[in-house]
C-alpha cells in the first residue's frame, strides 16, 4: 500500500457513516480502540461511537497525565498492545494427569481497529516482525483484524517524539483509512488500501480543497518540527550507545531515578515480554502469560543466580533493545516515540532527556 495523496473532507457525522459502512461490510465485526470509560481511557471493544475519545484532549508531561475537554486525544497508558497481547492471557489448560484440556484465546469473528494512533500502527508493524507466527495469542488476534482505521495526530503531546523515529505524526502505509481532525468538526480522510477506498467512496465524502490540505500540511509540519527539536538524531544516539555500552558509570547516572517498577514496559506498545505462570484452579491448571518487563527485578533472574542484578543493567537493556537491538532483530527502531514511558514513570524519568544526555556525553 502506497501513500495516497487523495484527501477527503467531512465532519463527525461522516465519521459515523464510515463506521456504519464498515459494519455492513463485514459479518460479525467488532470494533476495538480507545474508549472513554468514566474519567479515563481504556483500550477495548467499542460499544458505540459515543465511547470514542472524540471530545477530550490529554495533557502529558513526565509523570503527569490528565484528560481535559478538547479534540486532541493522543493516547493513554493503554495501547493497541492491550488488544494484541492482553496483560493476562491463557496459553494452555492442563489436567493433573498432564492432559491438555484447552488452548488459549477464544477471540473469534472480524475485528476493526478504530482510531488507533500512528504510534500504535508502527508498534503493530514492529510486533509483527518479532512475534507474529510465534506467539499464538498475538498471531490469532492479529489475523482477525480486517481493517485498521488510524487517527493521525496534528498536535503532539509534550512527551511525543514520533517524527524522530519515523512513526508519525501521519501514516503512510499499513492502514486502510486514516483521518485527522483539522478542527473539532472538520475531519480530513484518506485511504491506504483498496478496502479503505471502497469504504470512503460509500461514505460519499467530498474531496478536500486546497485550503484544507494546506492547513493539514502546515499542522503536520509544525508538529514534526516541534517533536524533532526534542530528541537528538537517532544515528547519533545509536553511535553513542555502541561506544558506551559498557560504561557502567554512565548507565548508573542515567538510571539514577529508575525504581525498577516496569511501568514503562507495561505502557510501551512494543514491549512484548511475558512471564508464564501456572494458576491451579481446582483439578486443572492454567498456563497464563502475564506481562513482564526488563526493568523489573526478575528480568535476568534464574534459579541460583541473577544475570541482571543491578538496576542499571536492566535500564540499559530497555534503551539498547529499543535503539540498538531492535534494528538488528527486525530492521527498525523499536521505539515508536509515543512518550508513554515518560508519562507513566512514577519518578518522571524522561526518555527524551536520557537520549539527549547520551549525546551530550559523546566522546
Amino acid at each position: 500500500m502506497s501513500i495516497n495523496s487523495e484527501f477527503f473532507i467531512g465532519g463527525l457525522k461522516d465519521f459515523e457513516v464510515m463506521i456504519k459502512v464498515l459494519q455492513r461490510l463485514f459479518n460479525d465485526v467488532r470494533f476495538f480502540g480507545y474508549r472513554v470509560s468514566g474519567d479515563r481511557v481504556v483500550f477495548s471493544e467499542l460499544g458505540s461511537v459515543d465511547e470514542l475519545p472524540l471530545k477530550v484532549s490529554d495533557v502529558q508531561r513526565p509523570n503527569y497525565y490528565r484528560l481535559v475537554p478538547g479534540f486532541r486525544f493522543r493516547h493513554a497508558s493503554v495501547s493497541v498492545k492491550n488488544y494484541l497481547i492482553p496483560p493476562e492471557h491463557t496459553l494452555l489448560t492442563v489436567s493433573q494427569d498432564y492432559n491438555i484440556l484447552g488452548y488459549g484465546d477464544d477471540l473469534n469473528g472480524n475485528v476493526v481497529l478504530l482510531g488507533i494512533k500512528p504510534c500504535d500502527l508502527k508498534a503493530i508493524n514492529i510486533l509483527d516482525r518479532i512475534i507474529y507466527g510465534k506467539n499464538p495469542i498475538y498471531t490469532r488476534r492479529r489475523d482477525v483484524i480486517k481493517a485498521i482505521i488510524v487517527e493521525e495526530c496534528l498536535e503532539p503531546s509534550e512527551n511525543c517524539f514520533c517524527s524522530v523515529v519515523n512513526s508519525g505524526p501521519i501514516v503512510k502505509s499499513g492502514f486502510d483509512i486514516a483521518y485527522a481532525r483539522l478542527t473539532e468538526d472538520i475531519i480530513m480522510f484518506k485511504y491506504g488500501s483498496s478496502l479503505g477506498e471502497k469504504v470512503l467512496s460509500r461514505v460519499g465524502l467530498k474531496k478536500a480543497d486546497e485550503v484544507h490540505i494546506k492547513k493539514y500540511l502546515e499542522l503536520v509540519d509544525r508538529a514534526t518540527s516541534v517533536m524533532n527539536s526534542r530528541v537528538p538524531n537517532i544515528k547519533d544516539i545509536q553511535k553513542v550507545l555502541k561506544e558506551r555500552i559498557s560504561d557502567k558509570g554512565l548507565w548508573e547516572e542515567l538510571s539514577l531515578r529508575c525504581v525498577g517498577c516496569g511501568n514503562c514496559n507495561y505502557v510501551c506498545p512494543t514491549c512484548f515480554c511475558i512471564e508464564i505462570e501456572d494458576r491451579v484452579e481446582g483439578n486443572y491448571s492454567k498456563r497464563v502469560g502475564i506481562w513482564t518487563g526488563c526493568r523489573t527485578y526478575t528480568y535476568g533472574l534464574v534459579a541460583g543466580m541473577h544475570f541482571r542484578h543491578e538496576l542499571y543493567t536492566r535500564y540499559r537493556h530497555f534503551i539498547l533493545h529499543k535503539f540498538l537491538f531492535y534494528p538488528l532483530q527486525v530492521g527498525d527502531i523499536g521505539c515508536v516515540g509515543c512518550g508513554r514511558c515518560s508519562t507513566w514513570c512514577p519518578t518522571g524519568l524522561d526518555l527524551k532527556e536520557s537520549l539527549s544526555r547520551l549525546t551530550e556525553v559523546r566522546s
Binding site: 496459553l91 494452555l92 492442563v94 494427569d97 512471564e275 491451579v280 534459579a303 542499571y312
Partner: protein
C-alpha cells in the same frame, strides 16, 4: 506450525530411570510419548503440573524407538521446578516435555578438525551428547581433548562413564577439582587452568572448541583460548538466561540482540564478542 494455537502444547514423558550423579544432581531417563529428534546442544522445556516449565538441555542423544523416544536430562536442584522433579517424581512419574528447541552444537561442518571440549560442573550435561556423537562417528573428527572440572571430585557428573570417554581412540580426558580431595590424582584448581596444560594435544588453528559451564568460567576459558591462538570463530559456547517459552515469544532470554532460545543456546564466540564480556548485558 509455529504460532499455531498449540505451540505451548507439551507431550507426556514417563520417568523410567534415575541416576544420582552428584549431590543434588540427577540424570533422568524419560520415555517421551512421540518422536523427538534432537541434536546435541538442544534443549527441552520440562513441565511440572501446577508449577511451570524450565529449559533443560539434552544430556544424551535421543533414541527414537517407533512411537516413543528415550531421552535423558541431567537436572540439578536449584529452583522450584528442579526441586519438584527431584523431590516429587519417581520412576513412573509423568512430566510434560516440549521441544527440542535451540540450534545445537555445530558438528557436521567441522569434519576432520581436532576437538576440545571444556566443561565446568553441570556444564558437562549439554556436552555429553557431543562426546557420544564423536564416539559413534570417530573417523569424522581429529583428536579429542576433554577438559572437565568441578568444585570437588564428588561434583563430577557421569563418573561411571568418564573412563569410557578416555577410551575413545585418540582422546585425552583431563580432570580438575577446584579443591583438593583425598585420593585425587588429577589437577587441583580451575578447569580453565587445564587450557595451559602441556597435555593439550591439538592443532590450535584447526580445532573446534565446545564450552559450557558457569559464565565466569567461560569468560576465563575464552580469554585463555584466544591468547593461546585458538580461533574465535571456532569457539562455541552454550549460554543460559531466564527462559519461559523456548520459542522466541516470552522475550526473557534476550542476550544483546539475540534470543538464547532460538538464536542459541549455542553461540559462536565471534558472533557474541561485543556482548560476552559485558556485565549484565
Amino acid at each position: 506450525m509455529s504460532g499455531n494455537i498449540t505451540s505451548f502444547e507439551f507431550k507426556k514423558g514417563v520417568i523410567i530411570g534415575r541416576v544420582e550423579e552428584a549431590p543434588g544432581v540427577y540424570t533422568y531417563t524419560i520415555r517421551y510419548d512421540g518422536e523427538l529428534k534432537g541434536v546435541p546442544g538442544q534443549f527441552n522445556m520440562l513441565y511440572v503440573y501446577g508449577l511451570g516449565e524450565i529449559p533443560i538441555s539434552l544430556s544424551n542423544i535421543p533414541e527414537v524407538r517407533g512411537n516413543y523416544t528415550l531421552i535423558q536430562h541431567t537436572v540439578r536442584v536449584v529452583g522450584a521446578v528442579t526441586k519438584a522433579i527431584v523431590s516429587g517424581c519417581d520412576i513412573g512419574s509423568i512430566v510434560g516435555i516440549r521441544g527440542p528447541y535451540g540450534n545445537g552444537w555445530p558438528l557436521k561442518d567441522v569434519k576432520g578438525m581436532d576437538v576440545v571440549i571444556i566443561g565446568g560442573g553441570i556444564g558437562l550435561a549439554p556436552l555429553r551428547p557431543i562426546i557420544k556423537y564423536i564416539g559413534l562417528n570417530r573417523n569424522k573428527f581429529g583428536r579429542l581433548n576433554i577438559l572437565y572440572g568441578a568444585r570437588t571430585p564428588k561434583d563430577l557428573l557421569y563418573k561411571y562413564e568418564l573412563n569410557e570417554y578416555s577410551k575413545i581412540s585418540n582422546t585425552k580426558l583431563m580432570l580438575s577439582s577446584d579443591t583438593p580431595a583425598e585420593g585425587w590424582t588429577h589437577h587441583v584448581g580451575f578447569v580453565t587452568d587445564l587450557i595451559d596444560s602441556v597435555d593439550v594435544d591439538v592443532d590450535i588453528r584447526n580445532t573446534v572448541i565446545y564450552v559450557c559451564g558457569p559464565e565466569v568460567m567461560m569468560r576465563v576459558a575464552v580469554k585463555k583460548l584466544l591468547s593461546k591462538g585458538f580461533r574465535k570463530d571456532l569457539i562455541y559456547l552454550s549460554l543460559e538466561r531466564r527462559m519461559r517459552c523456548g520459542i522466541g515469544v516470552c522475550g526473557t532470554c534476550q542476550f544483546g540482540h539475540y534470543f538464547i532460545c532460538k538464536d542459541g543456546p549455542v553461540f559462536r564466540y565471534s558472533d557474541i564478542e561485543d556482548y560476552f564480556m559485558i556485565e549484565g548485558i
